[in-house]
Amino acid sequence: MSIENMPLGKALNAGMRRALAEDPKVLLMGEDIGTLGGVFRVTEGLQAEFGKKRVFDTPLAESGIVGTAIGLAMRGYRPVCEIQFNGFVYPAFNQITSQLAKLTNRHEGDMQFPVVIRIPYGGHIGAVEHHQESNEAYFLHTAGLRVVSPSNPHDAYWMMQEAIASNDPVIFFEPMSRYWPKGDVDTSAANIPLHASRVVRAGTDVTVIGHGAMVSVLLQAADAAAAEGTSLEVIDLRTLSPIDYGPILESAAKTGRVVIAQEAPGNVSLASELAATITEKMFYSLEAPVLRVTGFDTPFPPAKLEAIYLPDADRVLDAVDRVLSY
């Protein structure tokens, strides 16, 4: 065991550093990731260490970034692309959706596309428009992509390396508001594989499920509920596509009550899919409908209103009360 205490952003940096060191085909590319080390400093020091052919700034064009990453993958490279902020991935949507996601299928497996697209996402940072969205739903609906999001530094460190090692494209959602809090990272071994969900707090009454920054909100809610005598089981999805339903269904079978929380708007979202699938698989076990606590079906609001928009522990607890009242 080799434990280091570090922030999630630093853990991502360390994960990428290790991948760069271990495989000469790994490249980092994006806007401002070189000299500056990224607007969040997640790639800090990596250009200095690995040189401008391994870690480089691109022109300001997201379709260009993803499109050329695809070409680099065809050439045998493993590019890791940074999208500067969530709301700026849309110019690359065509390359991601009609190309990257489909190319392995189009090639009938003859070529592989180990491209990682890093997207810092989520609220709580008080930023201007387009900077705080949780837009994972678009990528979840797109067959051919893997989508993951770590909630803590240890996962960030390992999931980044596992994503880079994946021969399928991975959309890697980084919870911006969690870049700074520190946690222990065991750099000697990952404990569970990339595509596994995990019970992060055991409980008996209600299953609450989330990912990324929402996990700490759920843990907060669990503390508050415990104080009132309600036991919440908290599940960190970790991987959003494909979803590892094992721990989820096991928990739902036990509690019979499920609440899903996410920052993204609810309509046609991850929460919709989880609610539908859990209900389908566990119909006879559910004491209450699966409830969803989500961002509202509006554009992400100005910073001063984000606290109203983003699900917090109170909104989660309200849903917990509602599932318990069935």
Partner: protein, 103 residues
Amino acid sequence: TADEGPSFEESEGTHGSDESMATAVAAPASPKAQPARRPQSASAVGGPVFAKPPIRKLAKDLDVDLSQVQATGASGEVTRDDVIRQASQASVFRNIQTPAWSQ
């Protein structure tokens, strides 16, 4: 428009408390955590209750504790008849054991 965060070094302690893996990974639920708001107690018949939602509604309406019901459904689920049987038994027992107050 690109607002950047402070570097990690600058920001220690300013963006939330440290969270170790130990706290992120489950602390076992305390044994005394008996759910205050949970309507049903542990099953007397044993195992979790399997019932589709309308059966749960029926049970609620008839004041039947599903965990006390003997399930006869093909996959072990409580059926409509099971609930009704339980309800009529309960009312029989209630009639015998606790006669209503006369006015």
